[in-house]
């Protein structure tokens, strides 16, 4: 069962084996408003943890998507390229942006669990 983890920058990582799907959280999509465009990374690109990997744009805002962990891009979501609104409709599901082959599984420990992320959101309110 794939587990979902979060960063304080509102990215999520849904891990399945040694590949993780990356997207922005439901909170993030609500903050952004209607998503109109996603700047996807290139296949094969390698990112260190915390590096800017993608950009999600709404009409009035733009938000960097930072790699939650280090890895290599093994897939990008063509659906989200065609229908950016998927990020609003289903951020955690069909609204995934790219998939990383994890370089260092120990980096997962630093990420927030769902419960920790929800608690973090409370502090922002």
């Amino acid at each position: 069962m794939s587990e979902i983890r979060y960063t304080k920058d509102h990215e999520y990582l849904r891990v399945d084996g040694d590949v993780g799907a990356v997207g922005v959280s439901d909170h993030a999509q609500r903050q952004l408003g209607d998503v109109v465009f996603v700047e996807l990374p290139t296949l094969g690109a390698k990112f260190a943890k915390g590096a800017g990997a993608a950009v999600v744009e709404s009409v009035k805002a733009a938000s960097d998507v930072f790699a939650p962990v280090s890895g290599e891009v093994v897939a990008v979501n063509a659906e989200v390229d065609r229908q950016p609104g998927l990020i609003n409709e289903d951020a955690l599901g069909r609204g995934w942006i790219f998939k990383l082959k994890l370089a260092d599984l120990s980096e997962l420990d630093a990420l927030l669990s769902q419960a920790d992320y929800d608690a973090f959101l409370e502090t922002l309110a």
Binding site: Q31, G33, D34, V36, V59, K60, A61, A62
Partner: protein, 516 residues
């Protein structure tokens, strides 16, 4: 980056309209595109036939249709007059737009800019035939230097952002002259700054580091000192700042910057608050752009043209770009090629002459006394508005005096179900252009109001009463007035999401249907 989005699509809540055959509503008229009404062979200009000559176009002649529609003169007048009537304008009503200084555009200035001796002058005419134009540029430059207490002026930048770029380039050239271009690559910019500030710095490869504003809405000298270092080329401050406050520690910050080997760039967008009251040159500024289309009344024209001349201190004067006007006794000449340390050229020709004429006319009309009075009235008007609304609307830095613009946030709307955006759109139905919203970024749901000195007290009073009425209505839970607004403008809220997801950026001839 600005990561705070907001709704960009209309909601279901909208009142029904009564229709008409034409779609018009009395004087408010629907108007098609020229591509739908014009004809390729119609023209509103009579041109005599060309003399028959042997073509020298070689193989480069254009064949085929371009697709440009033409209108006869009556059709053109009607088209554009109808379009114009869909626009708000300062001639028609107050623009409370913070940091834009939407003051009255004097009509004398339009007349003078159109004198053939200014308007019908080519920039590359022999200098002996344009001495009056050079004298005018020189006179304006001197006036701006007097007003700002600075030492040299670059008149060529074409707008404020272009002036910022000019300032950044001058600073980079000065740093390179000291051999420090590899070490000083950072520019400090407050988090509240206008987007053009970091954008201008980044264009020439500086990286931008934020310097925080303090709890009182201004940059503290310690915060600046902490951010300065051997890697910093410059600090960019706006003064008064984008929260409408005078940066009271500016002298200390300038000193700290200079001690740290950095330059001090001042964004002059808010100069209207301090003309005749203080001079940036006395505060330690090294370079400052001036928006002639703000402080000096040149018209906004729906998006320009503006002008952004830059004034410099002694530290930077030598590096300012070409061209510059030089006085030689009674005559003027133009330095068009670098003959010293000028860093290069910002644009072809000599600057926005048309805006120079207007700005100089404004300065001559006001004079020293009028310019100071204008700044005082601008600051008084903003405080009058602020004091008249402060019991209803929350301000991020408490109930304290502002300069020429008053900043509110959306804290007071917290439980009302009405956002800053909704509030702004409801102002439209009352006959007002909204104030600046969601800027500066450091205030949540910011509302920045700058009435300027051009408003009568009656106008200010009506504006205040209207905002009070709207504010009380929002607090009383009358959401419908806001969430569906504007109801009465030529257009309701637009689907900006669709405009961005499916961009249609031009008219395209529809493909012929099978019947055609």
């Amino acid at each position: 980056m600005n990561t705070q989005g907001r709704p960009t699509r209309p909601t279901r809540e909208s009142a029904a309209r009564r229709g008409s055959f034409t779609g018009n509503r009395a004087l408010e008229m629907e108007e098609a595109l020229i591509f739908e009404t014009g004809r390729l062979d119609a023209s509103g200009v009579d041109i005599e036939a060309p003399a028959p000559v042997k073509s020298r176009l070689g193989p480069h002649a254009r064949d085929g249709e371009i697709g440009l529609p033409g209108l006869t003169e009556p059709e053109a007048v009607r088209h554009y007059v109808r379009l114009s009537r869909k626009n708000y304008s300062i001639d028609a009503g107050l623009y409370p737009l913070g940091s834009c200084t939407m003051k009255h555009n004097p009509r004398l200035n339009e007349k003078l800019a159109r004198l053939p001796g200014f308007a019908d002058l080519h920039p590359l005419q022999p200098l002996s035939t344009v001495q009056g134009a050079l004298a005018l540029i020189d006179a304006l430059a001197r006036a701006l230097l007097t007003i700002t207490g600075m030492r040299a002026a670059a008149m060529s930048p074409k707008a404020g952002a272009h002036g910022e770029l000019c300032g950044m380039m001058t600073i980079k050239a000065a740093i390179a002259a000291r051999g420090e271009e590899q070490t000083r690559k950072v520019v400090l910019v407050p988090d509240a700054a206008h987007g053009t500030n970091p954008a201008s710095a980044a264009l020439i490869g500086f990286s931008v580091r934020a310097v925080p504003s303090g709890a009182e809405g201004v940059v503290e000298a310690d915060a600046a000192r902490a951010a300065l270092g051997p890697d910093v080329a410059a600090i960019m401050l706006t003064n008064p700042n984008t929260c409408g406050l005078f940066e009271r520690h500016i002298v200390d910050i300038a000193e700290a910057a200079h001690e740290a080997g950095a330059y001090f760039y001042c964004d002059g967008a808010n100069l209207n608050a301090v003309v005749g009251k203080t001079r940036p040159g006395d505060l330690g500024v090294d370079a400052m752009h001036i928006n002639l289309h703000k402080t000096f009344s040149t018209p906004h024209g729906g998006g320009g043209p503006g002008a952004g001349p830059v004034v410099f201190s002694d530290r930077l004067a030598a590096f300012a770009p070409v061209p510059h006007v030089v006085r030689d006794g009674d005559a003027f000449r133009l330095v068009e090629r670098a003959d010293g340390d000028e860093f290069g050229r910002m644009a072809a020709f000599h600057g926005q002459m048309g805006m120079f004429v207007r700005a100089l006319a404004y300065i001559l009309s006001h004079g020293a006394d009028g310019l100071k009075q204008a700044s005082e009235d601008a600051v008084l008007a903003a405080n009058y508005v602020r004091a008249s609304l402060s019991d209803l609307m929350s301000a991020p830095f408490g109930d304290r005096h502002c300069m020429h613009e008053a900043l509110f946030d959306d804290h007071w709307l917290k439980d009302s179900g009405v956002t800053t955006l909704d509030f702004a759109k409801a102002m439209i139905d009352e006959g007002y252009h909204p104030m600046t919203v969601y800027f500066p970024l450091i205030a949540h749901g910011a509302m920045l109001i700058e009435p300027t000195e051009s408003e009568s007290k009656a106008s200010l009073d009506l504006f205040i009463m209207t905002l009070r009425d709207l504010a009380m209505s929002a607090l009383a839970g009358e959401r419908e007035r806001f969430v569906g607004a504007p109801y009465d403008a030529p257009r309701r809220r637009l689907d900006e999401t669709r405009a961005a997801r499916q961009p249609v950026l031009r008219w395209t001839k529809p493909a012929p249907t099978p019947m055609e």
